[in-house]
């Protein structure tokens, strides 16, 4: 099977309130992505959209966005999970051998809607929605408390994650939804759903990310620095909250194991990590799930400076989901940020041969997806 590479990408500014229309946002970014790959619309074989009808307020919303996406009269399909799941789908389509160039278009706009209310609609309608009190932050709060109590984490541990990631994000011209935020500011922010405070939760964000992928020789002829997809993994846990071990993210463990196996490498080979840590406690949890720390020890990586931008294993050099988090796009942004690093284009450059990008969807990271990217074919 021919390997697949990312050969072009673009993302909008990820801000709290975008002035442009949805259509304009998609059109502009898709044009930029095509330019970055040095191709035109006619070169595209397949387009994978990633959005969410609930966020868009539009049933089968790609019927409306496909023109702006350049998908008119093309092979087109949609993923309602995360943009990184859409990348997995695009890779599958290329590996199937019928297409040579695929484009992934992932976006959402929090300022068009009430993002937490939209995600709350994923709760079970029979038993869980009747109380009308929980949204995604509330469910993540159960997970945060379960994990923090089990391993003795404090609010400080969570606040430090926000301080590190937003500090990095301040140097990323795209991550504009939350400015650099100190530990003290996080701890002084209002409680949202205990133990989570407002500033430990992803910021409401508008934005789009587009990636262009090509297979084998086509990737090399198109692009001087293709970023190769070395391994992919994805997995999911039970839905029912009363039936999950909230002290660990088992589906992230399985997703990473699958991706590492496919890539033929292990955690020690990774030089850079980009996580979709929608809630601050998920950063150490995910690092443990991926095998970078023993259970309960993920916070030490941060306290010891390992995961700082200049550390041995930089995590979220781009600012992560706590700096900007356009739902549906966020995981694809992680892959694109890894690609920018591997190509030496990022503002804060990290030396790495392999990078790990992560996406999630579902309540309390029920479903996780991992991509391992590398510079060598």
């Amino acid at each position: 099977m021919e390997p697949v590479a990312i050969v072009g990408y673009a993302q909008s500014e990820m801000s709290g309130h975008m002035v442009s229309s949805r259509d304009e946002m998609i059109f502009t970014c898709v044009k930029q992505a095509l330019d970055s790959a040095g191709i035109v619309r006619d070169d595209l074989d397949t387009v994978i959209s990633c959005g969410n009808d609930f966020y868009d307020g539009h049933t089968i919303s790609q019927v409306y966005t496909l023109e702006a996406s350049g998908a008119y009269a093309k092979d087109e399909s949609k993923v309602e999970q995360d943009g990184l799941h859409a990348l997995v789908y695009a890779v599958m389509r290329l590996l199937a051998g019928h297409h040579q160039i695929a484009m992934v278009v992932a976006y959402s706009r929090a300022s068009d809607m009430e993002p937490h209310a939209a995600v709350a609609a994923s709760l079970d309608p029979v038993y869980d929605r009747q109380f009308k009190v929980l949204n995604d932050t509330g469910v993540a709060a159960f997970q945060a408390r379960a994990y923090m109590e089990r391993y003795g984490l404090t609010e400080d541990d969570l606040a430090l994650v926000v301080e590190k990631n937003t500090g990095n994000g301040a140097r990323n011209p795209k991550a504009k939804a939350r400015p650099a935020t100190s530990k003290a500011e996080v701890l002084a922010s209002a409680p949202a759903f205990t133990p989570l405070r407002e500033l430990m939760v992803y910021p409401n964000t508008d934005g789009i990310c587009v990636a262009i992928l090509a297979a084998g020789d086509r990737a090399e002829s198109l692009c001087q620095k293709p970023v190769w997809v070395k391994g992919l993994g994805w997995n999911q846990e039970l839905y029912y909250l009363g039936d999950r071990d909230l002290t660990r993210i088992a589906s992230a463990e399985a997703a990473a194991a699958q991706a590492f196996k496919a890539a033929g490498i292990g955690p020690k080979d990774i030089g850079l990590i980009e996580l979709s840590e929608l809630f601050a406690h998920q950063e150490p949890m995910l690092l443990e799930a991926f095998g970078f720390a023993e259970p309960g020890q993920g916070r030490k990586l941060l306290r010891e400076g390992v995961t700082a931008a200049g550390g041995k294993l930089p995590v979220n050099v781009s600012g992560g989901a706590l700096s900007a988090c356009a739902l549906s796009a966020v995981g694809l942004v992680r892959a694109v940020e890894c690609a920018r690093q591997l190509r030496g284009e990022a503002e804060l450059t990290v030396r790495a041969d392999f990078a790990l990008a992560h996406g999630q969807c579902g309540l309390a990271a029920q479903n996780n997806v991992v991509a391992i990217l590398g510079r060598e074919k």
Partner: protein
């Protein structure tokens, strides 16, 4: 950075979902469960393969991928496995009064149930707290017969 402009409403288009849903569930399961609530009893289903006891009752075991037929009764009291104090509404707006929601393991059950905690202060909450069901005065054999749970005192 893009400048934030003041929004002026000039025309409305329907944005909220105005579709009414009538979700169906296994009425044989639900009828049996809610009928027992009238007598202040919690019924549960048990997986005959892994032994897990589900209350509220599940029609199948997600782990074993089998249909559940075995019924059992669990207590109307148990312990708080996990909880959160909500200061925000679902939309993210602040609530006038904080609300407590918990995952409760009823005595005799394995899986937990989600329920509001009433007549209990946020500072009284901790994992492991013993709680009991707060029943509606006049019960009709419906889900709303459970007002919530409250701390044992």
């Amino acid at each position: 950075m893009e400048e934030k402009k003041k929004r002026i409403v000039t025309r409305d288009a329907l944005g909220a979902w105005d579709v009414k849903y009538n979700w169906h569930f296994r009425s044989d399961f639900m009828d049996r469960y809610v009928a027992a609530l009238k007598d202040k009893k919690f019924l549960a289903t048990r997986c005959h393969q892994c032994g897990r006891v589900y209350s509220p009752p599940m029609t199948r075991c997600g782990r074993c991928f089998i249909e559940l037929h075995e019924w059992t009764e669990v207590k109307d009291r148990g312990k708080v496995v996990m909880y959160t104090v909500a200061y925000n509404a679902i939309s993210g707006e602040p609530l006038p009064e904080p609300k407590i929601t918990a995952l409760i393991q009823l005595d005799g059950a394995n899986a937990w149930m989600l329920a509001p905690i009433k007549n209990t202060k946020p500072e009284e909450m901790h994992t492991g707290l013993r709680v009991h069901a707060g029943w509606a005065e006049e019960r009709k054999g419906i889900l709303a017969d459970i007002n919530g749970f409250e701390a044992d005192r």
